[in-house]
């Protein structure tokens, strides 16, 4: 069983990457922080009695589930908003649509010409390219290559077959290379 200090040390080492994982997925700073906090709480509450060496894989799985839950809740919320929206005033409805469209366009905004792109060190460019990948490809890429999980562990965390992991990774690498090349970064 992992001691309190071991869990604390593990989370201290994992929390920043976990935040980035969540941020790449949900594209919202506060939501990403909430997701990481929920994942931490679930790890401590439900798996605090597990050995320390099992914590990384468990935490990754909890984190990915928390991200999926976030999207599930968003879909439910959007459904109710759409259901109620005909009852609202038309002007208000239009303004909200424009606001939401503006917000959506902000979240998937590609870097403008004023933003500097300078080789591989341009973190923002790479992060934006990652953020525009399909969710499963990004998840597979980050788990497999950034978290350095093997194919089997990645499949376990993602809840899919090892073959799917390989496919997602292959597509993610190709898509990233293409996106970065389009932005002037040559691999």
């Amino acid at each position: 069983m992992a001691s309190n200090q071991e869990i604390d040390a593990f989370l201290a080492g994992a929390e920043r990457r976990a935040f980035k994982h969540a941020l790449f997925a949900v594209q919202d700073h506060h939501s990403a922080l909430d997701i990481v906090q929920n994942a931490m709480m679930k790890l401590v509450e439900r798996y605090g009695d597990k050995p320390a060496e099992e914590l990384p894989l468990l935490f990754q799985r909890i984190l990915q589930n928390a991200i999926h839950d976030h999207f599930r809740r968003s879909r439910v919320r959007d459904f109710w908003v759409r259901l109620v929206s005909p009852l609202r005033d038309k002007d208000e409805d239009n303004s909200e649509t424009l606001e939401s469209l503006s917000a959506e366009s902000d979240t998937v905004r590609l870097p403008g010409p004023e933003e500097e792109v300078s080789g591989w060190q341009n973190l923002a460019t790479i992060e934006e390219a990652l953020a525009t990948l399909p969710a499963r490809q990004r998840e597979a890429f980050l788990l497999r290559y950034w978290e350095e999980l093997d194919v089997s562990e990645t499949a376990q965390v993602m809840g899919c077959s090892e073959g799917s992991v390989k496919t997602h990774c292959f597509r993610a690498v190709n898509a990233l290379a293409a996106k970065l090349k389009d932005k002037g970064l040559k691999p």
């Binding site: 989370l11 201290a12 931490m40 790890l43 401590v44 509450e45 605090g48 591989w120 973190l123 690498v173």
Partner: protein
């Protein structure tokens, strides 16, 4: 650049992003961690019900133990009840009909109980 180098460059760049997180975010993360550790342990605790929830066999064992304890309690309570009745009898706290011996009354009321007055 081959694929492995490409991937390595990307992950290294991502690492620099993690290192350069702003102070408010890292403070929030540290606070969230502390909160999770304190709150999580408070909620989880080490109570027997929590342990039973985590280990199903322990839960079954607890249920069996409770059943045995209940059975023993019921069986051991009977002499106590009899003792209480005796005490109530001795201290005259029983109602008058408690002294009535129904069997004797029935026997008296039977006409053929005494065939002749001399034999009774």
């Amino acid at each position: 650049m081959n694929e492995q180098d490409f991937i390595r460059d990307i992950t290294r760049t991502l690492d620099t992003g993690v290192r350069d997180l702003d102070a408010s975010t890292t403070a929030r993360l540290a606070s969230a961690r502390r909160h999770a550790l304190s709150d999580g342990h408070t909620h989880a605790g080490s109570g027997i019900l929590v342990q039973a929830h985590r280990h199903p066999l322990l839960g079954v064992a607890m249920a069996v133990a409770l059943a045995v304890a209940g059975w023993l309690l019921l069986n051991l309570q009977q002499p106590v009840d009899t003792g209480e009745a005796d005490i109530l009898l001795l201290t005259d706290e029983l109602p008058p009909n408690a002294y009535a011996e129904q069997e004797f009354s029935k026997w008296l009321s039977k006409p053929d109980t005494c065939p002749s007055p001399s034999s009774c």
